[in-house]
Amino acid sequence: MDQADPGSNDRVDVRLLAEIVAGVEQSFVELYRRRHNDVYRFAFAMAKSRSFAQDVTQEVFLNVLENASRFDSAKGTVRAWLFGCARHVTLDRLRLERRWTDDMPADVGTLDSDERLLADQRVERLHAAIARLPVEYREALVLFELQELTYAETATVLDCPIGTVRSRLHRGRVLLATMLDENAQAASEVKSSVGAPLHAREVCS
């Protein structure tokens, strides 16, 4: 998606949405082509699971079919509206799957070209840490930092004041840094204990 002229992009999105309401099939396909990447990447960033992201994307666009007439351009862009839909679907599914924070499975599936892009260890650990953040911090960070929404857009999607967004971002970053430090420390301890010679008592007891 071209980010050079977001205003122009949004005008196109608004037109497509209006045409969807009017029953133009091609406009629905066109909007899907333009925006499904955003929705998919948001869900993938939130849950770190490709299958989860795929399901969310499908559900969001089914919602678009049924609720396109509810879009209100006064409240924000189509992109932000879609993120709002994606957020609701994601939270519902996370709730349903009890995957809020502490039961997050690692993404399953083969390592394909997408995962290879994320295979850098630091990035991989960062993504894993984000996926374990409490959801209110996670969604703020994903929208603002990873999907590059503005403060105002993030606030619209999250349906909260901008000050709350700033506060969640700050706390989210602090929590994230703490988690990453703890991970690094744990990894370091494991490494040193593996490298140290075993004492006789530990072997024989």
Binding site: V29, H36, R41, Q58, R125, L146, L180
Partner: protein, 178 residues
């Protein structure tokens, strides 16, 4: 990651890398034909709903609306008939997400409003019931005496999901309402 604490600038740099990596993540291919089919389904449903809601709609619409009213009270009715009536377990072909109160052949099951969706893979019981016409207060001229035979499609949870009327009885009601 190194063992040094994550300072703000380092975290920001890592987030930028993750952002770049995520930008390269591509969703799997989606069958656009399926999207188009879903779109057409929905448009068709809307058209049918609009036709059903037009003033002076058919008697079948009145019947379906009446059925909705009756079966809004229908938890009770279903429970009663489940205890007393003959039941047969069937796999019923379902008109997927058929709109409510749509004019259709009398012999077709009409999904009930506010009931869980019908699933082709689920099994349902067909329960034949006789409903007093007095219950059909929304159908003009049918308040006096008599009853109508109908088949209820009841899910395994005991809740009614759809209804169809005996064609002969339905014709009687149709005549009576004119």
């Amino acid at each position: 990651m190194s063992n040094t604490p994550h300072d703000a600038s380092r975290l920001q740099s890592d987030l930028e890398q993750l952002r770049t990596a995520l930008r390269a993540v591509e969703p799997p291919e989606v069958d656009e034909a399926a999207l188009r089919a879903r779109f057409r389904d929905l448009q068709q449903q809307r058209a049918q709903n609009a036709a059903a809601l037009r003033p002076g709609g058919s008697t079948h619409f009145h019947l379906a609306a009446a059925a909705a009213v009756v079966l809004a009270l229908g938890g009770i009715l279903a429970a009663v008939v489940l205890r007393g009536e003959r039941t047969e377990s069937v796999l019923v072909p379902v008109a997927a997400e058929a709109p409510l109160a749509v004019p259709a052949p009398v012999s077709a099951f009409q999904p009930l409003p506010n009931s869980p969706s019908l699933l082709p893979s689920s099994s349902y019981n067909v329960v034949r019931v006789r409903i007093p016409l007095s219950a059909f207060a929304v159908v003009p001229g049918t308040q006096q005496g008599g009853s109508i035979e109908a088949d209820l499609l009841v899910g395994e949870d005991g809740l009614a999901r759809a209804i169809r009327f005996n064609e002969a009885d339905a014709l009687l009601v149709s005549v009576a309402s004119q």
